[in-house]
Amino acid sequence: MTITEKILAHHAGKDSVVPGELIMAKLDVVLANDITAPLGIEEFRKAGAKKVFDKDKIVLVADHFTPNKDIKSAEQVKYMRDFAREQEITHFYDVGQMGIEHALLPEQGLVLPGDTILGADSHTCTYGAVGAFSTGSGSTDFASAMITGEAWFKVPESLKFVFNGKLNKWVGGKDLILYIIGDIGVDGALYRAMEFAGSAISSLSIDGRLTMCNMAIEAGGKSGIVPPDDITLKYVKPRAKREFKIYASDTDTKYCDIREYDASKIEPQVAFPFKPENTKGISEVGNVTIDQSVIGSCTNGRMEDLRIAAGILKGKKVHPYVRLIVLPGTQTIYLQALREGLIEIFVESGGVVSTPTCGPCLGGHMGILANGERSISTTNRNFRGRMGHIDSEVYLSGPAIAAASAVLGRIASPEEI
């Protein structure tokens, strides 16, 4: 069995499962945010439910339109907050404690190796980076899971991606996942579990792995996963407040496809509008001027990302025609960046630093684009109108390209600075 099949079998109380099998699985974590929770809570009420199955296993994060961007958003968050207080939800994160959910949960040790996690947010697939089965759902599945602590799944086929060789300078998890999506397309992993392996993955940091698994959904994947190793254990052990279990794929197990890549041939990637599959290597980008650079989000708002960006921006000035917006993923990351002097570097370069929020990524607030404007962004989607006006454009990249582009006023490599 693959690691994904083993985790699902365990949570379904079975010795083994096969792809295509329908199972009912017990959930370790059930998650929603300020956009998806309100619909789910309504469904919870409609079903006549009185109590959630386990107040310690539900996580509610007010991260999308917070700090409340308008009155309607404030009402939505209040609805979720009132529910969290009524149900005495242990892990409710409000402004002041909250971070972007997929940066926050791993950091707080709420998601652990071997877990099965359902989240009403498509990027819930992020937690595969710590060796969990984790997938996105809608609000009704979330409501049902809050009541029963279970969800049905069709066991996915697994697709394996092997990166051999050493990563080039300025290449990170974002570039690898964009490269995959460019290769297989936005539905290339539809319904499937994406398993990442190979020497380049073994040497990739947890932050880089979280970035890769985060974007499994952008290839249509049900989940992404990196089988746990020493790097995983070093990250989760000091954070875990409960037992966890390490699984590995059997060496003779079957995958529906195995794709191998030579990491040393991959340069920093940029995804052009309006699909994450429209990727090009940085050397092929040409002259694309920008109005804004966004560094943050559940994809690239972690310490490693901020350190890379600050390393490039130190002693430099943001181009006069560019707005640089930096969004640390959590309060802990914000504080750490402050202590390391990174915030000072961003501000001195002419950028702004925001409190954690999903904000501009989904065109919510904190950096909306006008008609005809263009942004380089470390976020995960470049759909038409994603960051604002229907005729604005988003180009996706890792933090190195986003920082260098902010300085040069066009999409560029740090090598040019």
């Binding site: 498509s122 065109g363 759909f383 038409r384």
Partner: protein, 161 residues
């Protein structure tokens, strides 16, 4: 359950931001959401459609975010069914959960033209193109899924049981 309506055609990879842009997600009210259904792909969509009409699209319909607001907006807009070559998985699951009929049928998706009058029998998966006088066959839903859809969604179905 039989459905009839006019076909509205869309291409590949229609995403949930096009179905219901995030700027409208500061409310959960289905009617407020429906007012902006498909707005970023066809600003006049809501003015053009009539109750019972059918969306016909190519591959990977509903990709992107997990927002259940997307199928909810389509259903509340009055669309009776979505036919596509394939669906993104979260959208597929959400549609069944909220009681929006959806069918995977590559033949129907490529042969139906915009404006064709379509009749669908959900229990058999038979799609009849009344305009072109053609019949296509989609895999029908298993009985329990048909019951979820006719109950108006998973929660109604579970509660009624």
């Amino acid at each position: 359950m039989k459905l009839t309506g006019k076909a509205w055609k869309f291409g590949d990879d229609v995403n949930t931001d096009e179905i219901i842009p995030a700027r409208y997600l500061n409310v959960s009210d289905a009617f407020e959401l429906a007012a902006h259904c498909m707005e970023d792909i066809d600003p006049d969509f809501m003015k053009k459609i009539s109750k019972g009409d059918i969306i016909v699209a190519d591959k990977n319909f509903g990709c992107g975010s997990s927002r259940e607001h997307a199928p909810l907006a389509i259903k509340t807009a009055g669309i009776s069914c979505v036919i596509a070559k394939s669906f993104a998985r979260i959208f597929y699951r959400n549609s069944i959960n909220i009681g929006l009929p959806i069918l995977e049928c590559a033949e129907a998706a490529s042969k139906i033209s915009e404006g064709d009058q379509i009749e669908i029998d959900l229990s058999s998966g038979i799609i009849i193109n009344l305009t072109k006088k053609e019949t296509y066959k989609a895999q029908p839903f298993p009985e329990f899924m048909q019951k979820i859809i006719s109950a108006g969604g998973l929660m109604n179905y579970v509660t009624s049981r």
